[in-house]
Symmetry: D2
Subunit: 305 residues, 4 copies
C-alpha cells in the first residue's frame, strides 16, 4: 500500500491538497510533525511521497520547505496542487465573539487574517500554534477561546464557526508540491513547470543577470524567482526558481545545462504538470522542432554538407 505523508495534523489545508491527488483515497495518509520530518521520511523510504506547502499567494514562499529541499539528499517534485485558502474563526459551541480573549492560530494564518483580527477582535491576544489544526485542537481542549483555522477543522474537533472567510485578501491560494525520491519525470503535457535551485558563483548583480539571460535567450518564462540566504552571511543568496516547460524539452534542457556549466551548483527538483493547466508559451525559434532542425543543420555543417 502506498504511503503518503503530509504536514499534519489532520484537518489542515495540506491534507486537503493531498486528498486531491488521484489514488490518494486508496493510499495510507500519514500526518507528519513538520516539513523536515515529512521530507526525511521520504528520503529514508518510510514514505512513498509527501505533500508540503511551497508558497502562498499572500504570505509568499514557505522558507522551511525551500531550505529543506535545497539541502540534504536530493528529492523530486512530481506534482503540484493548488488549494484556495479560506479561514474561519472556530470556537467551542456556546462561545460568542464577545467571549474571545485569546485566539490561537498558525503564523501564516495570522499574517493572512491580521487586518480582520485587528479590526474585529482588537482586544484579543493572538497565540501562535504550530498549525491551524493544532490551534483548533487546543481550543477543543479548552486552552484558548477560539482558533483561526481551516473550515474542515471544525468537524475534526467539534467546533463551530463564529465567523467565516476571515482572511484579509479574497482569493488567496496555497501551492503544495508532492515530493518523492528521485526518478524519471512525469511525461510532458505541454503545460508543465520545472522547479530548481541555482547557487550562483558570486553575489554580484551581473551573476543574477547572467542567470536570467540563460532563460530569456531561450524564450523560457520564469513564474517564480525567490532569493534565499545561503547561510554564509548576509548578502549571499541562492535562488529558488520555477519556470515554464519540461526538462525533456530542448529549450529547457539547454537552459538547465547552461546553468550547470556556469553556476556553482544547480539542483533540479523536477518537471511536472501545472495544476492550473496553463500551456507554456513557446516563442518562435524555440520549439523542439526548431531545435531539431538546427541540430540537423549543424551536423550538416560539421560534415561539410
Amino acid at each position: 500500500m502506498i504511503r503518503y505523508g503530509y504536514l499534519g495534523p489532520a484537518g489542515t489545508f495540506t491534507e486537503a491538497a493531498l486528498r486531491s491527488v488521484p489514488g490518494a483515497d486508496e493510499a495510507e495518509l500519514v500526518p507528519c510533525a513538520s516539513v523536515p520530518a515529512a521530507l526525511e521520511a521520504v528520503r529514508g523510504g518510510e514514505l512513498d511521497g509527501a505533500m508540503v506547502p511551497l508558497e502562498n499567494s499572500v504570505e509568499g514562499s514557505v522558507a522551511t520547505t525551500l531550505d529543506e529541499l535545497a539541502h540534504g539528499d536530493p528529492l523530486q517534485v512530481v506534482r503540484e496542487a493548488l488549494v484556495p485558502v479560506g479561514f474561519n474563526l472556530l470556537a467551542r459551541p456556546g462561545t460568542t465573539t464577545a467571549d474571545v480573549r485569546v485566539v490561537a492560530t498558525h503564523p501564516h494564518a495570522e499574517a493572512q487574517c491580521r487586518r480582520w483580527l485587528r479590526t474585529s477582535l482588537p482586544d484579543a491576544e493572538v497565540v501562535l500554534a504550530p498549525s491551524t489544526a493544532e490551534a483548533a485542537k487546543a481550543v477543543a481542549e479548552g486552552r484558548y477561546d477560539a482558533a483561526v483555522a481551516a473550515p474542515i477543522a471544525a468537524g475534526h474537533y467539534g467546533l463551530v464557526a463564529l465567523a467565516e472567510d476571515v482572511q484579509d485578501n479574497e482569493g488567496a491560494v496555497t501551492r503544495f508540491v508532492l515530493v518523492s525520491q528521485p526518478g524519471p519525470p512525469p511525461a510532458p503535457t505541454g503545460a508543465d513547470r520545472t522547479t530548481l535551485f541555482a547557487f550562483i558563483a558570486d553575489d554580484h548583480t551581473g551573476a543574477l543577470l547572467a542567470l536570467l539571460t540563460e532563460f530569456a535567450v531561450r524564450g523560457i518564462n520564469l513564474t517564480r524567482i525567490e532569493s534565499r540566504p545561503s547561510g554564509d552571511g548576509l548578502g549571499r543568496y541562492f535562488f529558488s526558481i520555477d519556470c515554464d516547460g519540461h526538462l525533456t524539452e530542448a529549450r529547457v534542457g539547454e537552459a538547465l545545462a547552461a546553468l550547470h556549466r556556469t553556476c556553482a551548483d544547480v539542483r533540479v527538483l523536477g518537471s511536472y504538470p501545472r495544476a492550473d493547466g496553463v500551456a507554456a508559451q513557446v516563442p518562435a525559434g524555440t520549439t523542439d522542432g526548431d531545435y531539431g532542425a538546427a541540430t540537423a543543420w549543424l551536423t550538416g555543417l560539421r560534415e561539410g554538407g
Copy 2:
C-alpha cells in the same frame, strides 16, 4: 524626549539593536506588540522611530516587515544595525536538560536551531511563541520547561542557561532598520545603501531583466533582491531591493528615476550608511564627476558649442 519603539517585549535582539543607536540611552524605548504595531505608531506620530528586523542571514527576510513597509503610508529607513544572533537554552534554576519535555521559542529561532533541537532534545516538543522573550517569560511562569532565547533574556526573567550558542550556523546575523516618518535622507558617506520596492508592470521574465539592467548599466551593485507576492494571486510579485550607493548620487538617482518611469510603482525607503562601513564600488564612468562632465558636454551640444 525622543521615543523609539521596537519589536518587544524587552530582552529581544531588537532591543539590543535599538540600544546600539547613538542617543538611544537618552530616549524612551517602547516595546511594541508586533512589527505592524510599531510601524503604525510611527505613522501616527506616537513614536519618533521604530527598530524592526529586516532580514536574517539564515532565515532570510522578515516577510511581515517587508510587507508592512511596502504598503500603507510611506516611511523612511534612516539607519541599519547588525546584531550577531546567538541563542541559549534557558530554564528555571534547578531544571536539567533531561527534564525538558516542552521547549518554547519563536519560529525564526526554531528555524535557526532546528538541527540542534532535533539532535540534543529529540523527544522534546517545540511550542511556538510570538517572540523568544515571550518564550522565556512563559518558562519563568512555569508554562514550559525551557526556552530557546537571546542570552539577555535570562537576566530579565530569572532563568539560567542549560546550553549556550545552540544555533546551527555559526555567525548568523540579523539586520535591523530604524524607521521614521519621511524626511531628507542622512548625508552620503561613500558607504551607503538604498532600500526600495519596485512593482513591475507585468510579471514576465523580461520585466525583471529590464529592472536589473537599469541598475547594471549604471554600475550599481544590488546587495539584496527578494520577490514578495503582490497579493493579487500566485505568480504576481513585487521586488524588495537593496543597492549600493545614495539617492543623492547621480548614478543612483538616474536609476531610481528610470524605475519611476518604467515600473508600475516604486517606493524608495531611503538611503543610509551601511552598518558594516563597506564602501560602494563605483565603476569607471559612473562617478558624480563623470555624470557632471557628461551633463556639461550635453548642454554644450544642445547649445551648439
Copy 3:
C-alpha cells in the same frame, strides 16, 4: 550669398540632392573634387555647407564620408536628403549598343548595375571613373563608348540614353547629408534622427553589447549601425550610428551622456528631421513628460518630500 558645396562634378546625384534643399536655388552651388575637399572647405569657412553621400541602400555606407566626418575638426549634420537612384547607359548620338566596347562609370554605380552589365554587355570592358558625371564627360570627349550615369548627365554632356534604369535593384536610394560648421541643432519635429560616432574603449563583444544596451534601456531605436576600422589594426573598430530622436529630448540626451561617460570618445554629428518624415516610436516611460515627472519625484525624494 550662401555658398553650398557638393561632391561634383555637375550632373551627379549629389547635385540633385542639394537642389532639393529649400533656398538652394538662391545659393551659389559649388562642385567639389571629392568628399574630403568639400568638407575641408566647410571647415575652412569657404563654404556655408556641403552635401555629401552617406549611404546607399544597395552599396552600403560611403566609407570616405564616414571616415572624414569621424576625424578632423567637428562638423554638424543639419539636414538629410533621399534621392532615388536610377542609372542610364549614355552614349554619343549615333552610337548603338552593339558599338559599346568600353563602358565608364563610378565604382558604386558599377556595383549597382553589375548584373545588368554582365548580362547585357558581356563583352564590354568596364573602366572606373571618379564619378558618373566624369564618366559621362569622358564619353562626350570620345574617350569611352558609353557611361553608366545619372539621367541628368545626358543633358549636361550632350549624350543620349541607349538604355534606361539599368540598375539591378529597383528602388535603390542614396541618402545624402548637408554638413555645416557646428551650431545649435535644428528644432525637434517629432520625426528626427541623430547621427553619432562611438569609439568604444575596448574591442570586446561586451563593449558593443553595453553600447547597444544604453540605447535599448531608454527605448531608442537604432536605424543604422556600421563598424569602421579605427586604423589601429585589424579587429579594432569604431561605430557609426543613426538613432531615432533628437538630442534635445530627454531619453536621447541621457543615452548620449551615458556614451560620453562610458566610451573612449563620442562625436555627435547632430540631430535633424528625417527626410521620410517617419515619427519616432517613443515607448511608454520614455517621453519627455515621463522624464520630467521622474526628475520631479527624485527631487522630492532628495528633499525628503
Copy 4:
C-alpha cells in the same frame, strides 16, 4: 593539377596572399578579372579555390566580397592570409616626381594614400583603375605618369619607384580568404575563426542585441561585425560576423544553432585557423569538457538518475 584563382591581374597583393598558401607554388595560379568572376569560377568548378580580399585595417571590409559571398550558391572559407600593405609610387624609368601630372591607382589604394597624395602631389590628378596592377600596367603603356601600386608590380611592368611606403597609416594589413566549394571544415587548432552571415528577422535594435547575446552568453568573442544593406531599402541590413572558435566546438555549435533557430537566415562560411595564431579565450563553463559534463548531467536528470 590544382587551380587557384585570385583577384588579378598579376602583381597585386592578392597574388602575394595566394603565394603564402602551402602548395601554391605547385598549383596553377589564375588571375581573375573581379571578385565575382573568381567566385563564380569556384562555384562552377573551373577553379579549386580563389583568394579574395575580405577587409583592410584602414579601408574596412571589401563590400563586393561580402556581398558576393552572402548571396548565390554557398561557398566555404578554408584559410585566411594577412598581407601587410605598403604602396610605392611607380613610374617609367626617367620620370621624376615633378613630371607627375596624372596618377593612377585603385580606389582602396587611393583611400590609403590620400593624405600623402594631397601633400606630396597636390597638383596631380588621380585616376581610378580597376586594380593597382592595372594602374601600373597603364603607366607602362604610357597612359598615365605614375601609379600607386604594390612594390612587386614594378618588376612585372618594368617600372621604378619614385617613392616608397606612401601609405598614410603605417602597419596597414589586408586580410584575404581562400574560398572553395563547401566541404568539411579544416580540423580545429585552438586558434580558429568562424565566419558567417546573419540575416535578422526584423531591423530593430532588439534583434541585434539578441543576436549578440547568443554569442555573449556562450562566452564567444566577436572579432568583426559589419552591417551590410540587404538591398531591400535603407535601414534594412544583414550582418557579416567573425567570431573566435571552431564550429565543431560545443559553444560555437550551440551559438550557430541558436542563430539558425532565431534568425531569418544564417549562412556559415566556415571555420579555419587564424593566420595570427592567437588562441581563443574560452571562459570558465564553456569548454567542450564543460558542455560534455552538462549533457551527461542532463541525460541523468531525464532518465531520473
